[in-house]
Point group: C2
Chain length 656, copies 2
């Protein structure tokens, strides 16, 4: 089997279009592969021959005698197909096509040709239009970036090349170690799902960051993402939030929601952590790659200043972090380390007099307690507790607690000394931030990841619906050239699915009405049926709440009399009798097949409020009972459903 | 007049409790005042005499022969009152009471005594429980911070002392210059409104940052804030978002909304820019203190990489930044500087090949165009455009455009070289950020400030309501010991205010019903009036939509018959006839006097949805027509009001 592992750990790499000129892409890649310590064979290929970075240059692929797993292709676009063919014939497994100028500039046919040629020979393509690939597993930086990538636990999959290279730079600034970074570019063959599935089972990768602009093969992606987040945190930047309306919004669902609303819901459903900015994504990745799973989410905040404590408390609410709340236990735990003018309420204020020993004692006291699962220590710069002491203490505490399934993090607000201490600590993977909200967000995302991992259920109940009967109805409609269902067909489907409809019939005469009213049942409603009367109520053509046969007779006469008074020429086909049902809560259930994301379900508040209140939630199908419940609970109007009878009654009474 | 300007620019300062021991607060303050270059008289006061930091120490206030404007009091709490009295007798204008241990620890009476003593002698108090004050105007750092405050355009008013000192440190890290920083502590006398009103008219202050936890004297604060934001941007961190329920929630309004929802609405109403975190607030302040007012908000994004362009576009939507959209004009402007594989659509992609000349040309082309008001240049690190060139170019462009009412800002994503360039540029006040969202937010807040400044109207229309008559009704209710109004009283008030109610009457007999039905008007509704029948509809006691006298007769008989069938013992007092009004949109209008914020109005969607949908908006009173309209527009259900007739009809029809 041609597994993707040889992409990340190839035995030998060829660079087709290797250049003798420093600064050229074909030179940078060879240079980076050598500099990063790659231990497999490196084969620069250039018809001019000679040497590149001290390595012998091969005239073509045939000239290389050993097998080659991966080729980096950097020749001009018009020469790429020949290179692809040569690699395919050589038995190369993966071709990283760096070169741009294919589908992204409209050159779609040429790109398709590359894929066909590769497929014919069992070769896979990454790209085209990419910056290459870095794999810590192989000590191989096959990108044309600035080099010096620090190995570590974060894998990045990016659709944007320029941004990807800039991200490499930024990982250096923020001391983030990478297990891999790969750009997918036009993803003509290998896409983010392929890469995700490999990286999620790769030992050294602890967290995966994806930068995505557009999704191809959405259903596959959703499946991969769901599986991946069960194993590791996946942070997703899905840009293009505001790029709406691309997908035709034919169905009701589509017209309701900007596509991003759906993408957002599905990312959450899949257990991904969605970040907006690189800054946010990087800080989450840093923390999540290194923090243990909490045994319980009960958290304490320890601080030397009220202000940061208050802000952290606000942030905990925003990021769904439960603060440990047992005031007696808190007093027992923290009064030994809290001066009388401090506070043992959570956030714990150990006061401006606190230095390293006080912080350490407070954190030890907190984390020795079974019911406290996590701690955040916040620090405002003070004269009594200088940056050097802080640095030592944070490192020490971090070392002590990461092995103990006790997530801890730190935020420090202060001047230059503090900033420098933070930079040094980050290099040692100590989770310390210079902003309280940023810090709390990281803890929140850690909890979110493990919470959804624990609570999510991806098994599906059997469902006893006669889908063949439904298919027959829709097929018939389709065969008769319709894209909609008739009222009768809709009713039939409702019956098959088991959705109740009020009993009703249309009576052509008063006699027929009297003959059938018991079968409809009292109380009932009567409504005129006339092709000439659209606004039935305006014409006096509706009478509600009829309790017996006498009232049916009165109503029949009143409706006929009023409607003819309203429009003397009206053709009246009869009067419809319907069971009068209790007012309820109008809801809407919708579904569509999204061209990108596949089948999507919608649930929400119905009636006139659908359009105005947009109180709807979305999920990708299939869904199980648990997910459907979550979807319903997510709407603002959910409480109305809980009180259906009560609320309906209230409304009824009020209108009475 | 004892103006507050002598607090920020005193002729002489005394430090009561000046200490000989380095590290002590009483020492640090003297040291900082000297080191900051203060040119007025500095008088350390300590009964022990001697010298502090080379200055002669006075035994007490009396021993100082010259007048003293400001005293910093750092003696222990029990000695503070004597110091206050001594200062008052000496004619000190402002006493900064650094010492803590007053109302914040329950010592409320002592704090009140300080205020009384000060007031008796015309002295004002800042604090107690503060870190002091820095004023660039006087070159005076009278805080016990670490010193080295950089003078500049940002004024900070903070309620938290520890956080304030940490913020001073952070301004150093971020190269933010301060015009003043002052902590208000327990604000027993001088509060944030006093300080705000001074700083807003002080020339050197360009933007004011307030950190607030609790508001005293809300109405005064709202007035000050409204006035201030007409002059300068005011960024507010109001912490304690999640601290709910303190204010008794007796009224309907209170029970609906967490207090923070109201605070948030009022801050917006006052034109303040609310930030969550220090990081956010600092970056807004940096940009707003230095950016010109835009002539138009039409903005272009110029980028060398698609990814950051997409993210910036998303961020523009979030922060309400309109992107210039005339594709023909954009092509004309940018095609000379955009390669064929780039894009002249906004965001403009001048491609990864762009270096300083291309960026400069693109920005010049953009900002020479009348209809483009602002530009954001985004940069992903590339080999062709190194950090050194970037630095020079950004500085140059910044210098060229700030004088021309053209806000420009930059974001650069990359490695160490870029980060260092950013730090150096920030020191020169060039607005450059290392995160796209952060950058765009700053531009958004700039627009928000000027937009509300232009559009806000603080004048009030005359209102022709007989308030005396309303007062008489409520007084009568109060005098009879009620805290609620009877149905009749409510109707009377509705009539006085001019709110229409449907006509109605209660008929004791069918004859009376027939005699009065024309006066009520058709169509009408009839409802049983019985103390024994609570659920009128369940008893069949309601008939809707009656069109003539005959139908009234039928309905009378039907109601009587059904109700007695429902409960034979029911006492029936009569039947109410009410005009049947078109179904409309239920709305709620509420008001309360908030203990902190004063009179507050609420508007929103009514009916059962009030509690569930919480679709309400809040404002502080008084309100003018424009503000009321804005308040209505802010609710999600506002479109329902625009289509009242249409929507009502639709609903009617649907239920029919």
């Amino acid at each position: 089997m041609n597994t993707i592992s040889s992409l990340f750990n190839p035995s030998a790499v060829a660079v087709i279009g290797a250049s003798h000129t420093p600064g050229k892409i074909g030179h940078s890649i060879v240079k980076n592969i050598i500099a990063s310590g790659y231990r497999g064979g490196i084969y620069p290929v250039n018809p001019a021959g000679g040497e590149v970075c001290g390595l012998r240059c091969f005239k073509d692929m045939e000239a290389i005698s050993d097998p080659v797993d991966v080729a980096c292709t950097v020749v001009p676009a018009r020469m790429v197909h020949d290179a692809v063919l040569a690699c395919a014939l050589k038995g190369v497994k993966y071709n990283l096509i760096i070169t741009s100028g294919f589908s992204e500039t409209g050159n779609i046919e040429e790109e398709k040709k590359l894929v066909r040629t590769a497929r014919d020979h069992g070769m896979r393509i990454v790209g085209p239009n990419i910056f290459g690939l870095y794999s810590a597993e192989a000590y191989m930086d096959a990108t044309f970036g600035t080099g010096n990538i620090k190995p570590g636990p974060v894998a990045i999959i990016t659709q944007s090349g320029a941004l990807g290279l800039a991200m490499i730079g930024k990982t250096g600034v923020e001391s983030i170690g990478l297990s891999a970074i790969v750009s997918v570019g036009n993803k003509c063959d290998i896409d983010e799902s392929d890469l995700l599935e490999y990286l999620v089972q790769q030992q050294r990768t602890k967290v995966i960051l994806m930068y995505i602009e557009g999704i191809k093969q959405g259903e596959r992606f959703i499946r991969s993402l769901k599986k991946s987040t069960r194993v590791k945190p996946v942070v997703v930047i899905k840009a293009g939030r505001s790029a709406r309306g691309a997908a035709a919004a034919a169905s009701h669902t589509g017209s309701l929601a900007g596509a991003d609303e759906i993408v957002d819901a599905i990312l959450k459903q899949c257990g991904a952590l969605r970040a907006d900015s690189i800054a946010e994504a990087f800080s989450w990745c840093t923390y999540l790659s290194n923090a243990p799973e909490p045994a319980t989410e009960q958290t304490v905040i320890i601080t030397n200043g009220g202000g940061v404590g208050v802000m952290a408390t606000d942030a905990c609410e925003r990021y769904d972090i439960p603060l440990y709340n047992d005031s007696e236990a808190l007093r027992d735990i923290f009064s030994p380390v809290t001066p009388s003018f401090g506070s043992t309420k959570n956030p714990i204020d150990i006061t401006g007099g606190a230095a390293a020993p006080e912080y350490s004692q407070a954190l030890d006291a907190a984390l020795d307690h079974d019911r406290i699962g996590a701690a955040m220590a916040l620090y405002c710069e003070t004269a009594v507790f200088p940056a050097a002491d802080l640095e030592k203490m944070l490192e020490d505490i971090h070392r002590r607690y990461t092995d103990l399934r006790r997530p801890v993090l730190f935020a420090a607000v202060g001047g230059e000394d503090i900033e420098h201490a933070i930079i040094r600590l980050r290099k040692k993977n100590v989770p310390v931030f210079n902003d309280v909200y940023q810090a709390v967000a990281c803890m929140g995302k850690l909890f979110e990841h493990y919470r959804q991992k624990r609570s999510r259920c991806d098994t599906f109940e059997d469902c006893d619906i006669d889908t063949a009967a439904i298919d027959a109805i829709t097929r018939e409609a389709r065969e008769s050239g319709r894209s909609f269902l008739s009222a009768r067909e809709s009713r039939d489907i409702m019956r098959i699915v088991g959705i109740k409809m009020p009993a009703s019939c249309v009576a052509r005469s008063l006699d027929e009405a009297l003959a059938r009213c018991e079968e409809v049942g009292f109380p009932l409603v009567m409504k005129v049926v006339s092709p000439d009367i659209i606004h039935k109520s305006d014409a006096g053509g509706v009478v509600l709440d009829l309790h017996n046969r006498d009232e049916v007779i009165d109503a029949w006469q009143a409706i006929m009399q009023r409607c003819l008074a309203y429009l003397s020429s009206a053709r009246i086909d009869g009067i419809e009798l319907s069971a009068m049902i209790e007012p309820g809560v109008e809801t809407i259930v919708g579904a569509r097949r999204d061209p990108v994301l596949g089948p999507i379900a919608m649930f929400g508040q119905g009636g006139i409020y659908v359009e105005v209140m947009k109180d709807v939630s979305f999920r990708a199908l299939p869904l199980n009972r648990l997910e459907i419940l979550a979807m319903m609970k997510q709407t603002r109007s959910y409480p109305l459903l809980l009180g259906v009878r009560g609320e309906a009654k209230k409304r009824h009474r009020r209108s009475a």
